[in-house]
């Protein structure tokens, strides 16, 4: 593949993620923080996010599967996930967490289960997309090119 083409693909791909609402402007901020002194910043952060989130989602599944659900445990997890997802710009994950929390407050176990599913879904989606994104970037870099700066015109 041509370098220019790859770069174009990357741009289009990234744009689509924003348009779909999978990512928001916070992700852009992260990208802007990446520079020569910090070349892997974004992937570093995102990797951390994946690690943390995997753990949290696991804990959440366990908590909700209990006979008696302890919402005092569930809520902080969801809260943390909300915080970290918003920090990296995983908008849909964050939104799902918000809904999740409101059901936690209501102590609605049934709804919480559904919410958890929703959150997981969004999470795997963004994880998937971001991994693809990084692959594209790596290809570009491997071909000796520069990753184009993302400019959101919308």
């Amino acid at each position: 593949m041509e370098l220019a083409q790859m770069q174009k693909s990357l741009q289009d791909y990234t744009k689509s993620l924003f348009l779909e609402g999978v990512l928001d402007s916070q992700f852009l901020q992260l990208q802007q923080l990446q520079d020569e002194s910090n070349p892997d910043f974004v992937s570093q952060v995102v990797t951390l996010f994946f690690q943390d989130s995997d753990r949290i989602l696991n804990d959440l599944s366990l908590s909700l599967d209990q006979q008696v659900v302890d919402f005092k445990k569930v809520d902080p997890h969801v809260h943390q996930l909300k915080g970290s997802s918003s920090s990296i710009g995983a908008q849909r994950v964050k939104n799902a967490c918000v809904v999740f929390r409101s059901f936690c407050e209501q102590q609605n176990v049934e709804a919480c289960h559904r919410c958890l599913q929703q959150v997981k879904q969004e999470y795997y989606l963004v994880k998937n997309r971001l991994e693809t994104l990084f692959k594209l970037e790596q290809q570009i870099v491997a071909s000796g090119g520069m990753i184009p700066a993302m400019e959101l015109g919308f």
Partner: protein, 506 residues
């Protein structure tokens, strides 16, 4: 981008500012760290609040600012905030994904300098250095107040100070040593307004019954102030208060004898205000610094009153532009009765005794009321209308004219000057003016009022409940508007008080 940031900073200060970042979420912590680096701060991170505390305790001068997440597993962020504020007095910024205002409120109450919402943006972090500057400026100012006094003091200890010829700091140290040694050349403490206000705040805090010099000294938290200074000041304060209360009682008794006074029970809604008569022109008051002040007992009352500007004196000339500020009182519409009523002569007999409802502030200028007190403005407008309808002579019949200060704080040294004119009283006016000039806010409103209250001059002051008008003060007025409305209806329904009742609103 970094160059740009460097240029933006006016002085070099924000660059290299040392920040301690605390967040249990690794992702957020990394992002925060990077953002802070981008702002050219020096960053230390930890994911445990306990570790953060240890780092801070190790050397509190190592950091300029702390940013902390609110929800952390090992310690509540608010707790950390409190501890840092208490122990190290560093500015702390809270960070949270909770946008709920009550969390923000909690943060502010616990002493947070700022509350940021996640996800944090770099623009917000660029500004956090302001908190450091602000805080250190406050510290400096506090130092200046006390330094100013010690500077004056060092002259008195001239010989010893000269001997050392070092900078002021060392002189100060020496004075401190001297004070501690308790030698006879104690530097004289000048009780400035600010200092006195601090004193009052401290007394207020512990309560007058509990006011011991040691406690007050601790609360005041002023350098170079000794227990002895506070003790002697406290003694003077107490004596002055005793004087006021005695006089108050005296006047109260005199006034009670007349029994032309009605109490406005609606005042209860504003926190049992009591009033003490303050003789104008009475020789008792000369030199008695404390005696002129009568203040509303309710601290919140201060929030009720617009700040009266010193343009008040104009009112003394009874140009009819009198308005009641704060709680509206019937007296205005009753005033017109007083001009020809029988109560007046009897009142005139104690012309010099003025029962002042602390909340009665006559002011001719609506403009001087602060815009934030709009309900009062509204009331004032209405009252002004009434007062305008009152024949000129009636204006003079205000029962009280008094220079007294509603707000004791140093920033609002405003005066409510009441017309003392009972028909004659140009002298009284002059006196009130004079007194106003003499006594500039020595005491804060609440403390004196509290003291007065506690001395139970209260009940004696609310005299003559006998002639309560129908429904006028039957029940606590829920709000100022209610009072005004009830007053207005009464005004309409009863054109005059036939037997010249003097409606005294306390």
């Amino acid at each position: 981008m970094t160059v740009e940031q460097g240029v933006q900073a006016v002085d070099q200060f924000p660059v290299g500012m040392r920040v301690l970042a605390v967040d249990d979420d690794q992702t957020c912590l990394l992002i925060l760290e990077t953002l802070l680096h981008r702002c050219q701060y020096h960053v230390t991170t930890t994911d445990k609040a306990q570790t953060a505390l240890e780092l801070l305790r190790e050397n509190k001068n190592k950091f300029d600012l702390v940013i902390s997440d609110v929800d952390m597993p090992d310690m509540d962020g608010f707790k950390l905030l409190e501890l840092v504020g208490l122990e190290m007095d560093l500015p702390v910024i809270m960070l949270s994904a909770h946008s709920d205002p009550k969390y923000v409120m909690k943060g502010v109450k616990h002493g947070a300098c700022d509350y940021l919402l996640k996800p944090v943006r770099i623009e917000e972090l660029k500004n956090i250095w302001q908190h450091v500057v602000r805080k250190s400026k406050l510290k400096k100012m506090k130092g200046i107040v006390t330094n100013g006094e010690s500077e004056g003091n060092s002259d008195q200890n001239g010989v010893r100070a000269n001997r050392k010829r070092k900078d002021q700091l060392e002189e100060k140290d020496e004075e401190e040593q001297e004070q501690e040694r308790g030698n006879d050349k104690k530097p004289r403490v000048i009780w400035t307004r600010e200092l006195h206000n601090k004193f009052l705040a401290a007394v207020d805090h512990v309560g007058i019954k509990n006011a011991v010099p040691k406690k007050i000294l601790d609360l005041m938290n002023v350098d170079n102030l000794t227990r002895e200074n506070v003790a002697s000041h406290l003694q003077k304060f107490r004596l002055a208060l005793k004087k006021i209360t005695n006089e108050a009682k005296q006047q109260a008794n005199m006034a009670a004898a007349n029994s032309h006074f009605m109490q406005m029970s609606s005042l209860k809604g504003f926190g049992s205000f009591h009033h003490s008569p303050i003789p104008l022109g009475s020789s008792q008051f000369h030199g008695g610094a404390a005696t002129m002040r009568h203040y509303p007992s309710n601290r919140t009352f201060a929030g009720m009153f617009p700040h009266v500007s010193s343009s008040l004196p104009r009112n003394l000339h009874n140009d009819g532009g009198h308005m009641l500020q704060g709680t509206p009182f019937p007296p205005l519409e009753n005033l017109h009765i007083n001009s020809n009523n029988k109560a007046f002569p009897s009142f005139a007999s104690q012309q010099s005794s003025l029962l002042v409802a602390p909340s009665m502030v006559l002011e001719g200028h609506q403009q001087s009321t602060s815009p934030s007190f709009s309900p009062h403005l509204e009331i004032n407008k209405r009252l002004e209308d009434w007062s305008n309808n009152i024949p000129q002579s009636n204006v003079h019949s205000e029962p009280d004219a008094l220079g007294w200060n509603m707000f004791g704080n140093s920033t609002n040294q405003t005066y409510f000057c009441r017309d003392t004119d009972f028909g004659s009283s140009s002298a009284a006016q002059a006196d009130s003016l004079q007194m106003k000039q003499q006594h500039e806010n020595i005491f804060s409103p609440m403390t004196v009022a509290q003291l007065l209250r506690s001395s139970s001059a209260n009940e004696g002051l609310f005299m003559g409940q006998q002639k309560l008008e129908n429904g006028f003060m039957a029940s606590d007025a829920g709000s100022l508007d209610d009072i005004v409305n009830s007053m207005m209806t009464q005004e309409q329904s009863q054109a005059e008080f036939s037997e010249g009742d003097w409606v005294w609103v306390a």
